[in-house]
Symmetry: D2
Subunit: 345 residues, 4 copies
C-alpha cells in the first residue's frame, strides 16, 4: 500500500519545473556541440553573469553538489592546503569524505547555528602562522561556508563580509556552497543579495538540483580565478558531461524571467506557513530558520502524531529525551499540503 | 550565420528520446526518495537484470562515461594494482588521466583494430609474475575492453571469451566499457549478445548518454561482486546523484518495449547506409567498422568536399598525407540526412 | 657564537647509540640483498617477535614516523574508511595532512590528557551506524592511539584493553603509534608491557628514530594481517629502502641484550629527575607525565629564566597569560645536564 | 652454507664509505635541530651548490630514489599534468606505480638505448597541442630522464641540451634522475659535467644510496623553482626525516675532498675492467655501456658458467633464446674481484 503521508523530507524529491521539461522537448533534435560548448550554456552563463552583477564571472555547470564541492576545493587548493569549514559543514559530515578523497583535510571551527564566526576564523589562521611548527601542519587554504547553512540559517551581509574580509586579508579564497541558494536569496528579511555574494566570495555555486532542476549546479568564479585548464580538471574528476547543454539549458531556463527567484519564493512562503503553523500548534522551534528547512523540537507524543501524518527527517536526539525533526519545503511544495499538515497535528 | 552543414560529429549531440521526455513530464510531481532508492531505479534494475539474463546482477546508475570508468576501476582495483587496456583505450587517451587521478596506472597492450588480443594479455600477465622484481611493479588487477571499441569494431563472442578466459585463469575481473553498447548489440552479424557479455564479464556498463538518454550509464556487476559500501564510494567519487531517479527513469524507459535496441538499430541502419554510400562514391574505409562510427581515409580534395557539406571529426593524419575522418550516426540520425550527404559528395 | 644552553628540545637531536655505529662499521663491506631481504632484517624481525611474545608477528622496517602512520593507515583502511583518533593525535595535527593525502579522513574524539576514552569511541561508532545517512559519511575503519601520547601520558593496561575491546567488537583494527614506545615501556609504574600491546593491538610500531637509532621504525602486524602485497605498497608510498638492512641492522642491535629497554630507562630516569627538580623549585606541572616529555606551566619570569639556560619547546599559551613549555629527555640525556639545569633555575 | 659467489648484483649491496661512518661517530652526541635545519645540511647544501656551479641552487635531502621521483614529480606537476619519460624509465616500470599513486600519468616515448630523443619529445608535445581534444587528455607537464639511464648509457651534452631546449621552448621543467649520477659523471669520455646538468635541468637529484651513502638523495632545484611550502609537502609525502642531518652529514662528507667523484671513479674503473674482461673472453655486449652497469648477452652455457661463479641480475630473455644479464660495479667493488671473475669464466 502506498505511503499517503504528506512529504516534507527534502527538497530534491520532485522532478524539474515545467519550463525546463518544455525546453527539453523543444530542443530535443537540435544538434549541439559537446562538453559545454553549446549556445545554451553560453546563454545561461551570460544570464548568470548579469544576475550576479559580475560581467567577468566565469561560469561552469556540473551535475551535483558533492561533485561541485570536491571539484572546486581540490582545484583551488594547493596540495598542502586544507579547507576551513564549521563542524556541521556538509563537506565535513555528509559527503563520504569526498574532499579527503582528493587529498585535502577539512579544518574545522565551531558552528554558531550552522554559521562560521569571522573572529574564530581569524584566530585559526593567526594561530596557525604563529605556530613555529606550522610547516608540519595543514595550511588553511580556503574557507567554505554554506548559505543557507545545514541548519537553514543565513549569513547577514555584515557577517559574510566579516568572513570575506579575513579571507582577503590572508589572500585565501572564500567559497560559498549555494546548494539551496535560491531559498536563501528569497528569504524574507535577508539583506544579502546575489550581487553581494558575487562580490564577497571568490567562488560559489548556484544550486539547481534542489531548486527546480533535474540536476545541475552552476559554479561561478568571480575574480577571474577559474583554475587553469579547468575543463581538463573537470574531466579528470569525472564531472564533465558529454551533453553539457543538459545542465546549461536548465540554468538558461532558471535564469529566464526570474524563474529561479520565483521557485525560491514558493519554498519560503510555504516554509513560513509551516513555521507559523507549528508555532500556532504549540510546537517548539529548534532554531529560528528563515529558509525552507524548519527544525522543530518534539516530545514523543508529538513525534508520533507527526509520523502518522508526514514524512520528514529525524535530525537529532536531545539529551532531555526530545527529538529534533526537520521539515523541508521546496519549489514544488503546495500551500494546501502545508495547510493540511497543520490541520492534522 | 548558422552552420547548416550535416552533422555527423558524434552520437551525443541530440537530446533524449521522446519516451524519456514524456516520462519526465508524467512523473514530474511525484515525490521520490533520493540517491537511487526510488521505484524507478528498482524497476530499471530489474529490467536490466532480465535483459542480461542475470537475475542476481547488481545495477547502479551514474551520470557519465569517464565517471563510470573512474569509479568502477578505482573501486574494484586494489591500491597497488593497475588496469590493463589497449593503447587506444578511452581511459588511456581521452579521459584526462581520470584513472591515474585515483592512483592507478593504465598498463597498455597493442591494439588490433581497437581490440585486445587474449594471447598478448596472457603474455603480459605471465611476464609480470615471472619477473623476480614484480613486487616493484604495478600488478595487473583488472582488464578493460570497450565494445564497440574506439574504432567502432566489435569483439566476436570467441574473442571476448578468450579474453575472459585469461581473466578467469588469473582471477582478474574483466570490465567492458559499453558507452556505445546499444550500437554493438544491434550491429549486423555480431554474435555477441547482452547475455554473453553478462556472462563473460565481471562488470560492464550500458551506455545511455550516447544511446538516447539525456545522461546516464548503467553499471552492471554480474558476479555478486559489487564493491562493499558502494553507495558511499559513489558519493566519495562525487558521482552520487540526489535525484537518482533521473537516471533510473531513463533506463526504465530505455529497457521498456525494447527501446534501447530500437535506438541501437537506427544508428546501425544509418551507419550502414553511410558506409555503403562512401564506398559507392569511391571513398576508402580506414577500418571496416560494423557499428555507428565510420572511419574514412580521404585525400585533400575529398576532405574539402566533406568539410563543405558536413561536420565530422578529423581523426588522424596518415604518413602518406591523407586524413582519417570519423562520421558518427546515432539513435537520432535520419536516413534522409545520410542520403543527402551521399548525394552531395 | 654557539648556543651553550642546555638542550631539552626533543628526543631526536642526538645521533645513534654506539652499538649501532659499531655494527655499521663491522658490516660495512658485507654484500647484502636489497629491500629488506637480508639476514639482519630477518634477525631483527625474529628478535622483535620474541620480545612481543608473538611468534607469528609480521615485521617490516621503514624510515620515519609520519611515513609509518601514512603507510599503515592507508594500506589497512578501505578507501571509504577514515581513522579515529583524538584531537591532539599526531596524525591529526602535526603530519601536514599525510593521512588525508592518501585519501582518508581523520575522525576525531576529544582527548583526555592525550588519551582516547573507550566509551566515547564506542559512542562514535554506534552513532555512526545508527545514522540513517551513514552511507553518506566516512566509515570509522581503524582506531589510532599513541603510547606515550603527545602529552607524554600512558594508557594503563585496562584502558588500552577497553579501547581494544571496542575495536574487536566492531571488527576495526587498533593501531598504536609507538614513536616513543621505549619510553612508555620503561616508565615507572606502567602495567602495560610490549606483550600486552602485541596482544591488544592489530598493528603497532616500535619507534627507533627517537630511541637511539639514526632512523627507522619497526611496524608489527600481530594478527597475521599484514596487507597483501605489502612490499609493493611500501614502494608505492615511496617508503621502501634499497638498503633495507640499514634499518634492520639498527633494530637487530636495539633488540640485542635489552638495549632498547636500557635506552628507554635512561630517558625515564632523567625525566624523573627533571620533574622532581621542577617541582622542588616551585614550578607547576601541566600534566603529570610519567614519560620523557615533561610539561611545565610557567609565568613570564620563569619563562625568562628557563630561556636563558635551556632550549625547549613553547607548547601553548594559557588564557591566564602563563605558558606551557615542554622539556624532553632521551636515551642520550645525561644526569649531570639535568642537575645543572635544576641548579640554574 | 653461505653463498661464496662473486657479487655483482647491484650497487646498493655494501654499506657506507668509511668517511661517512667516521663522521657519524664524531658527531654522535651533538645536539642538532631537526628536519634538515642543522649546520651539516647547510654545509652540504653549500658544497653542492659550489659543485654544481649554481650559487642559487635550492637543495633538499630525502631518503630514497623512488621517494625522490614521487616527491619531485608530484610537487612540480600541476594536477592535470603528466610526466614524459621513455618506456624503460624507472618511474614507468619499477616504482610500483608511485607516480600514479600521487595522481599523475607517465606519458611514454620510445627509448633509444635507454635515452629519450629530443625530436620525439617535441613531436609528442606538438601532437598534443595540435589535437582539438587535448583538453580531454593528460597535459605533458614535465620531462623525466635518467643519467645514467636504466641501460647504463649516458646523454652527451648535445643530446641533453636538445631535450632541454624543447623543455624551455614549451616551458616544461626538465627533471634528471641521478640515482647513479656519480657513475655518469666519472664515465670516461662523457662531456656532460655536473655544472652542465645544473644548467640544462630545472631539477635533478644526486644519488647517495648507490654511491657510498647508507641512504640519501640530494634534490637540487636550479632555477629558484623549489615548490612552495616544500617542507610541508615533503612531510605530506612521508619523506621528511626528523634527523635530517643523517642525510645532510652524508652528503657533506661525499662532497668533501671530491669523495663523491672518487667513489664514482672506482665503479667506472672496475666496470671497464669487467667489460674488457667479458669481451676478451668472447662474451657479447648487449649495449656498449660507459658506466657501472654492464649488460652481456649469453647463451645457456655461458649463463651456467656465470651463475656458478657470480651473483648478477637476469635482465631479459631474447627471442633467439639467449639471455641478457646485468653485472654492476660500485664505489665498493675491488679490482681483484673483477679479475677473479674474469679468470673463472
Amino acid at each position: 500500500m502506498a505511503d499517503t503521508r504528506l512529504y516534507f523530507k527534502n527538497d530534491y524529491s520532485e522532478g524539474a519545473h515545467s519550463d525546463i521539461l518544455r525546453r527539453f522537448s523543444e530542443t530535443q533534435m537540435e544538434q549541439l556541440t559537446g562538453y559545454g560548448t553549446d549556445p545554451y550554456c553560453e546563454s545561461a552563463q551570460q544570464k548568470i553573469r548579469v544576475a550576479c552583477g559580475c560581467e567577468t564571472a566565469q561560469v561552469k555547470f556540473v551535475c551535483g553538489g558533492t561533485q561541485t564541492n570536491q571539484l572546486v576545493i581540490d582545484t583551488m587548493l594547493k596540495p598542502y592546503e586544507g579547507v576551513v569549514g564549521v563542524t556541521t559543514a556538509h563537506i565535513n559530515v555528509h559527503e563520504a569524505g569526498a574532499v579527503e578523497f582528493t587529498g585535502h583535510k577539512v579544518l574545522t571551527l565551531p558552528h554558531h547555528n550552522g554559521k562560521m564566526d569571522a573572529g574564530e576564523l581569524r584566530a585559526l589562521i593567526d594561530t596557525f602562522y604563529a605556530d613555529e611548527s606550522h610547516e608540519h601542519m595543514v595550511y588553511p587554504g580556503m574557507v567554505y561556508v554554506s548559505h543557507p547553512t545545514e541548519l537553514g540559517t543565513l549569513y547577514s551581509k555584515e557577517e559574510l563580509k566579516a568572513v570575506s574580509d579575513v579571507c582577503r586579508e590572508y589572500d585565501i579564497p572564500l567559497f560559498l556552497d549555494g546548494a539551496r541558494l535560491g531559498y536563501g536569496l528569497m528569504s524574507r528579511g535577508t539583506d544579502l543579495t546575489l550581487e553581494d555574494i558575487a562580490q564577497l566570495c571568490d567562488v560559489f555555486y548556484i544550486g539547481g538540483t534542489k531548486v527546480g532542476a533535474l540536476c545541475g549546479e552552476a559554479i561561478v568564479f568571480t575574480k577571474n580565478n577559474m583554475p587553469k585548464c579547468f575543463v581538463a580538471q573537470i574531466k579528470q574528476h569525472g564531472a564533465l558531461m558529454a551533453k553539457g547543454w543538459v545542465t546549461g539549458l536548465q540554468f538558461d531556463t532558471l535564469f529566464t524571467d526570474g524563474l529561479y527567484m520565483k521557485l525560491g519564493k514558493n519554498a519560503i512562503d510555504t516554509a513560513n506557513m509551516l513555521k507559523e503553523g507549528f508555532v500556532s500548534k504549540g510546537y517548539e522551534l529548534y532554531v529560528d530558520s528563515p529558509t525552507n528547512q524548519q527544525f522543530v523540537v518534539v516530545d514523543d507524543a508529538q513525534l508520533a502524531t507527526l509520523s502518522e501524518n508526514a514524512v520528514f527527517e529525524v535530525w537529532e536526539k536531545l539529551e532531555d529525551g526530545r527529538t529534533v525533526v526537520r521539515f523541508v519545503t521546496s519549489w514544488a511544495t503546495k500551500a494546501e499540503t502545508v495547510e493540511k499538515l497543520i490541520s492534522l497535528i
